[in-house]
């Protein structure tokens, strides 16, 4: 590393618009090659917002937009990158990433070339803008990585004007900050992962560094459409194929994380080794899973072992991504409210994000004028949300994200809708969104309607039943991969081996007997007869409560339920 950085090439002293575009592309590509790892850094063992995919989509759009700008003016290219990132941003990390670009572009706005001073200033403004972009900044996330990267750049600038050297220190510090995220955010520690958004950002920095050092980054065309090229990019690393994804937790005494990391790294690729002297989380891709496991046993006890055949995962992944859910068919009645009246310009219109076709119909019947398909695993982009807002023929719009991971993109879309007043109601689940829509009055005054809807969102308790995507102990619940798990208002609450048991445990936990109505939205993978049988059993078991069974059509989650 040192020998590269000690001999910077002259062109690395300054950077023009073309170089920035190239940097964005390689950052995007390096993230592309690692986004599945980022996706796996998921705190919750549930299929939800894939951070790696979300950030990748954001970067892709940024690169695409910049590529269409023929200018060599760095300020203009940076602005194009920022705009592309903003429109393409999806998920919370993607949205924060877009705000980093926003800040960076702002610092460069009147400049034709980039020098070290501007780079440092750009990183600082990027971090500041991103912090301002969230209501309550949380340390141990992508924000921390961005801020420490900026701080390191400032320190490095005291020693050198060489942007390569500065970027090297930025990458090292980003990795360091990333490895410390579990110390800052207890939930990461408990889940045994580093922060996914921070990891994505680190990969972007690292890709850029590789490029300026002249190291190879597999650059793929960003012209390829977003669905097919995922399969294309994910080509096997070598002729042996994908090999195995091995994860385990190593428990011992006086463990040296750095030593373990370099040992594991020598065995395979895509290494993530984090932890402390007592507990280390190991993640590595290898052809022979026995090697890292034996190594782990030689140092202490190993637990929560997950070995996955990535060849199969790869096929599943490609299949999943290429079988996109059919776009919701938008009938003519879309603009009519639930009360059958056409929305007028001064009315309030509603845009709702729906995780399945059945849920979309429910939202539509309750008066949502526009629907955006998306939910746990396919977070819609800022642009998709913005376009839906713009399709509503009213000046006042209420947006229901119905998923925590869509909040930031929703707020960004709301800010971008210049010709309309948009209020985002922070609905975290589909049932919250449905409950919020009940008091919706299209003829009301925007703020009053929003207040009534905000209050109504909390009238329900949400239960979600799905299959654990990995083993974890979280919030006092022990989960093995493949088990059925129940979440209550977004928190992991129940795990078990049968859906019926988990369903009952969820209902007992929320004190069903104090409630009146339970609505069960069954997922696309559940067959109707099974759902009806389950509902019939529950009606018999809880004769005082009313059970309503509705097709939700959501993926991954067999049942989403609301109790009120």
């Amino acid at each position: 590393m040192a020998e590269h950085s000690s001999q910077p090439k002259p062109e690395h002293i300054a950077c023009d618009g073309h170089t920035l575009l190239r940097l964005v592309q390689v950052g995007c590509d390096w993230l592309d090659q690692h986004h599945t790892i980022v996706n796996q850094l998921n705190v919750f063992p549930v299929p939800d917002g894939d951070t790696g995919t979300n950030m990748l989509m954001t970067m892709r759009n940024a690169a695409r937009e910049a590529q269409q700008n023929a200018s060599n003016h760095i300020g203009q290219i940076a602005a194009a990158v920022a705009n592309g990132a903003m429109m393409g941003s999806r998920g919370n990390s993607g949205t924060i990433l877009s705000q980093l670009w926003q800040g960076f572009a702002h610092a460069l706005r009147d400049q034709s070339t980039l020098n070290a001073e501007l780079l440092v200033k750009g990183l600082r403004q990027a971090s500041d803008t991103a912090y301002r972009g969230v209501i309550k900044p949380v340390e141990g996330t992508i924000l921390t990585v961005a801020r420490e990267a900026a701080e390191e750049a400032e320190l490095a600038f005291e020693d050198t004007q060489n942007m390569v050297l500065i970027l090297e220190r930025v990458v090292l510090r980003a990795k360091d900050a990333l490895s410390r995220t579990p110390e800052m955010l207890p939930i990461l520690q408990k889940a045994g992962v580093v922060d996914s958004g921070g990891s994505g950002l680190t990969y972007i920095f690292e890709g850029m560094l590789k490029y300026v050092r002249g190291e190879a980054v597999d650059v793929t065309s960003i012209e390829v459409g977003p669905v097919e090229d995922l399969a294309f990019v994910l080509e096997p690393e070598d002729e042996l194929g994908y090999g195995y994804d091995v994860q385990f937790i190593l428990k011992g005494e006086s463990l040296n994380v750095d030593v373990v990391r370099s040992a594991i790294d020598a065995m395979g690729w895509s290494t993530v080794v984090v932890g402390n002297e007592n507990v280390i989380k190991v993640h590595v891709h290898v052809h022979d899973p026995g090697i890292p496991l034996s190594y782990g046993i030689s140092l202490g006890a190993i637990a929560d072992i997950v070995v996955e055949n990535m060849q199969e995962q790869y096929h599943d992944y490609v299949r999943e991504r290429t079988e996109q859910p059919a776009a919701f068919d938008e009938p003519e009645t879309q603009f009519a409210t639930a009360f059958g009246m056409e929305l007028q310009e001064n009315d309030v219109g509603v845009v709702a994000v729906a995780a399945g076709e059945g849920l979309a119909r429910v939202f539509q019947q309750l008066g949502a004028a526009q629907l955006v398909m998306g939910g746990q695993t396919n977070n819609p982009s800022t642009q998709e949300l913005l376009e839906a807002i713009q399709r509503v023929p009213t000046r006042n719009v209420i947006l229901l994200p119905n998923n925590k991971n869509i909040f930031l993109a929703a707020e960004q879309a709301a800010r971008l809708a210049k010709k309309q007043d948009v209020v985002v109601i922070p609905t975290r689940t589909m049932p919250q969104g449905i409950s919020a829509l009940l008091p919706y009055d299209p003829q009301g005054e925007l703020q009053q309607v929003a207040a009534a809807m905000t209050e109504a969102k909390d009238h329900v308790i949400t239960g979600e039943i799905t299959t654990a995507t990995r083993s974890v102990e979280l919030d006092g619940v022990d989960v093995s991969q493949g088990q059925i798990i129940g979440l209550i208002d977004g928190k992991l609450a129940i795990s078990g081996d049968s859906l019926e048991h988990v369903m009952r445990d969820v209902l007992e936990t929320i004190r069903i007997t104090e409630h009146e109505l339970i609505t069960l939205y069954y997922g696309v993978e559940v067959n109707q007869a099974d759902a009806e049988a389950l509902a019939a059993d529950l009606r018999e078991e809880y004769p005082e409560q009313e059970f309503e069974l509705v097709f939700g059509g959501q993926a991954h989650y067999d049942y989403i339920l609301s109790s009120e």
Binding site: A338, F339, M341, Q365, L438, H459, L517, E548, E564
Partner: protein
Amino acid sequence: MSRTVIIADSTCDLPSDWVRQLDVRIVPTYVNFGTESLADDGVELTRNAFYTRLVSSTDLPTTAAPSLGLTRQIMKQALQDADLVIGITAPAKLSGIYNTFRLVAEQTDPSRVTLIDSGMLSMGMGWQIIAANEMLAQGLGPTEIKTRLEAMQPYINVWAALDTMVYLRRSGRVGWAAAFVGDLLQIKPLIHLQKSVISSVTRVRTSQRAFDKLVELAQQAAPLERLAVLHTNNLDKAYRLTDALHDIRPDASSSRYNFAIVDVTPVIGVHVGPNGLGLALVRQN
């Protein structure tokens, strides 16, 4: 001093003992099951029997304004018994009753009859009859009473929490309800009636939420001059609502007639369905 009597249609929901005490003449409206026409006089059609039949009947019963003949008979009797008649009816915008009264007045002695469109149903109209009666006792004449009742109408609210959207939608009387699409989730509408307009206040999904909302609306409207708790075959809930509103119940010293629990007429029940709960209240001005 000239004597004045009040006649009204049966959708006023005035309790029958009050009707007797106050000598208000009630013209019955009708519920038709197929070709069978039943008068809303508390005899041909009892409320219990009606709601049982409403739920089990596959055909939707319809409602009818009182016949011209019966209305004329009651009007003539009133004109014989008194010098002047005040007729108070359901909203002309929602039913043909006002028009029936108007035609009968023209055919009898229009100069002695004053008609008032209450703009209300159930006890929203009932409270206007009570107020008119008290004004008569104070010596006010029909014209002054009409003016005062019209000034009072903005202070009267009727709210109804329906157990289901089904009856209101199929009744066809309320445009937005008829156009309401939605059968995926059960929805309980909470509606408001004021000055002849029925609007949607909110939609809820549980009867508890509806109950809480009614309590909230009543508390916001307090202090109250008069209060009626309305229900459609839902007496237990009506008692519970009465208890919940104990603190804002109008002071009994102001009027003998300021609180009632009312089983709503089948003529309205056809349009709102069973297990409804509501309020008809007059705010102090």
